[in-house]
């Protein structure tokens, strides 16, 4: 919904919140339901109201628990019946510098005393997190602290022993250190937010004295948007692709008219410098696993000429898809999405021409568009939009672009083989199939939350649930990694089966679409059957729960040779297979034991 996309009008959103909420709840979108506990050190009602709107817009339907006013500490340490029975999926701790009780004041204080004070203050929060982790083992989001508006001693406040700003800065470093040492613990950076909104605008003592809001109500939408970005990232709802126009977006000028020597990119001119900075900024996203694509009205050879400019930062091989032709851009984006097996809703499109953006918004409303008058505006909108909010960096994220490029090579190879099997054998595929090893837990969780198409039950799991399952003797858990002569695809398939006497119920079966039609599912089934037999199981039950996106696997169990037990009117189906006479099905992938 446009009103809730960045840049938004926070006042307008709060004024129309009832109407916006009603409109989204009745638009027929299937949303992920999540229980969110908000533990506040100040009033939270507006925060929750705005957070609900942004989450609905991100495809998540929240229900909330709110602690009593300023009872975050009590709720966390001593628990409450309501919170226990609410059993949150995620906890947000809304504290601010108003909750710092040990700020220094005495200029005569010696450094050791200041140190002790800081550690004591930190331990209050640490107790909160550790107690909550023990009680609920779910992701925790914690605000860091905003700087004060008024500094009694001027700049000295930021570095002297008795300075409040100095104390807050050091607390923030301690929070960051803690966050990096934990998984499922995320900082909501209100230190940045208050700076970007402006401390004069952020702080509002009247809102504190009247309603006990720790910041101006006018910035609460900014705060809520930031939290919503973290939550949707945790649940795998980030975008995946930046699709870029070329002329006057990646360089100054028009390559078709000006030629390679005529476009502005690089350190020679101020305009060239700004485009070079933009290209570097975009390239940085690639390092975090974001895919880059080009969508430009140009002849292909001109587009490549521009991208091969000696002073350019981005090169043709940085892009997983380059569409340079004279077709409408919405068609090009749809084609790129198909080729990459991604939904168009994974795309963020950047073009200096607002008319092109308007066409995309009309034809492909699920694509986010960014138009701009100078590239720094595009950088700001791209980053504040939170499309690629990072909550965890897995090894797969870092290598994603290579993997997609290797896929393109595989497609080229496929065309030269007589049979499909011959092609598969030529790929020299190796798989490692094993239990949920600790190093894979993050990736497994990510897959369970973002795989929609090849996913039989579409069950979502948190990192802690996956960790619990990994050592649970009542389940058989498998994850599979697939590599071939073009590269390593990383962990691509996850299967979870629950042992039920002599039967195994398959609660989750998913595979990444990047390895479709490679027989990886057969290798997974072989291994599942082998382990099931070791556990004395003679029958495996499969379930297919139909969603808007998973029709490609409606008949998967049938193709495995399962018998159909029941098919409901809503499209769900139940299957089973007796495994005593099962014969291995995979003939093209070499399955290796886990390398020690």
């Amino acid at each position: 919904m446009k009103e809730l996309d960045f840049p938004f009008d926070g006042n307008e959103i709060m004024r129309k919140k009832l109407a916006l909420r009603k409109k989204m709840l009745s638009d027929g979108t299937a949303r992920l339901k999540k229980k969110i506990a908000v533990l506040g050190g100040s009033t939270t009602s507006h925060v929750v109201a705005a957070l609900e709107l942004f989450l609905l817009n991100f495809g998540i339907e929240p229900v909330f628990y709110q602690s009593e006013y300023n009872k975050f500490f009590e709720d966390a340490l001593f628990g409450s019946k309501e919170l226990d029975s609410f059993s949150p999926d995620i906890i947000y701790i809304h504290t601010t510098s108003r909750n710092l009780t040990m700020l220094p004041d005495d200029p005569a204080e010696i450094p050791q005393q200041a140190e002790t004070r800081l550690n004591e203050q930190f331990s209050v929060f640490k107790q909160v997190w550790e107690s909550l982790s023990q009680r609920f083992s779910c992701p925790i989001i914690q605000n860091n602290f905003e700087l004060p508006l008024c500094r009694r001693t001027g700049s000295y406040d930021g570095w002297g022993t008795a300075g409040h700003a100095a104390f807050i800065n050091r607390m923030n470093v301690m929070l960051s250190d803690y966050a990096r040492s934990r998984s499922s613990f995320y900082i909501n950076d209100i230190n940045y937010l208050s700076a970007v909104c402006g401390l004069e605008k952020w702080h509002d003592p009247e809102a504190w004295y009247l309603y006990k809001y720790a910041m101006s109500t006018s910035v609460i939408p900014d705060l809520a948007y930031s939290i919503a970005c973290i939550i949707k990232s945790v649940y795998g709802k980030n975008h995946k692709v930046i699709d870029l126009d070329l002329d006057n977006t990646l360089w100054g000028g028009v390559i078709g008219d000006d030629g390679q020597e005529g476009i502005e990119i690089g350190q020679e001119t101020p305009v060239g410098q700004s485009f070079a900075e933009f290209q570097s900024f975009i390239k940085g996203y690639k390092n975090f696993g974001v895919l880059l694509a080009v969508c430009s009205k140009n002849d292909k050879e001109n587009a490549l000429l521009g991208l091969e400019h000696p002073f350019g930062v981005l090169k043709p091989q940085d892009f997983v898809s380059i569409k340079a032709n004279w077709l409408p851009k919405d068609q090009n984006i749809a084609d790129s999405a198909n080729e990459l097996s991604l939904g168009a809703d994974s795309f963020v499109f950047i073009d200096d021409n607002p008319a092109e953006c308007a066409i995309i918004e009309g034809q492909l409303p699920m694509v986010k568009t960014i138009s701009f008058s100078d590239v720094h505006e595009a950088m700001y909108k791209l980053s504040r939009g939170g499309y690629f909010e990072v909550t965890a960096v897995s090894a797969d994220d870092i290598r994603r672009s290579e993997m997609y490029a290797a896929n393109a090579q595989r497609t080229a190879l496929q065309k030269s083989f007589a049979s499909y099997e011959e092609y598969l054998i030529s790929l020299e595929m190796n798989a490692v199939i094993c239990g949920f090893e600790p190093v894979y837990i993050q990736r497994i969780t990510q897959l369970t939350n973002k795989s929609n198409q090849f996913n039989l039950t579409t069950r979502r799991y948190t990192e802690n649930e996956i960790r619990d399952l990994s050592s649970d003797s009542g389940h058989i858990c498998l994850c599979g990694q697939l590599s071939d002569k073009f590269g390593d695809n990383g962990i691509v398939s996850v299967v979870i089966g629950r042992i039920n006497g002599s039967q195994l119920d398959i609660e989750l079966w998913l595979m990444s679409c990047r390895v479709l039609k490679r027989d990886m599912e057969l290798a997974m089934l072989d291994e599942l059957v082998r382990l099931a037999r070791l556990r004395g199981i003679d029958r495996i039950n499969g379930y297919y729960y139909k969603t808007a996106k998973n029709s490609m696997v409606a008949e998967l169990y049938g193709s495995f040779g399962f018998e159909l037990d029941n098919r409901s009117e809503n499209g769900d189906s139940v299957w089973h297979m007796n495994i005593d006479s099962y014969k291995k099905k995979n003939k093209v992938i070499n399955v290796k034991d886990k390398e020690k």
């Binding site: 006042n11 709060m14 004024r15 129309k16 919140k17 009832l18 109407a19 009603k22 009602s45 507006h46 109201a49 009247e206 004295y209 009247l210 309603y211 809001y213 109500t217 006018s218």
Partner: protein, 80 residues
């Protein structure tokens, strides 16, 4: 600003905030007349009125207004 210019704009604010297109306020309207006008929505209402009329209420005014009439008086004085 005269009251006849203020009331229609104020009505739009009230209708948005309380999600009820049938609301029509008069100087005598109080929080008892509008079902969802509780202390939490009061905060939202104040924020929306402030942004509509480009002004701010003082602390005493926020907690002291007895009816819409008093709100209108303040808007007449300082609103844009």
């Amino acid at each position: 600003m005269n009251i006849n210019e203020i009331i229609p704009r104020l009505n739009e604010v009230f209708r948005d905030v309380f999600g009820d297109p049938s609301i029509s306020v008069t100087p005598d309207t109080t929080s008892a007349d509008i079902e969802d006008w509780d202390s939490i929505e009061h905060i939202n209402l104040i924020g929306a009125v402030e942004s509509e009329f480009g002004m701010r209420f003082k602390m005493r005014e926020v907690s002291g207004m007895k009816n819409v009439g008093e709100m209108i008086n303040i808007i007449q004085e300082r609103g844009k």
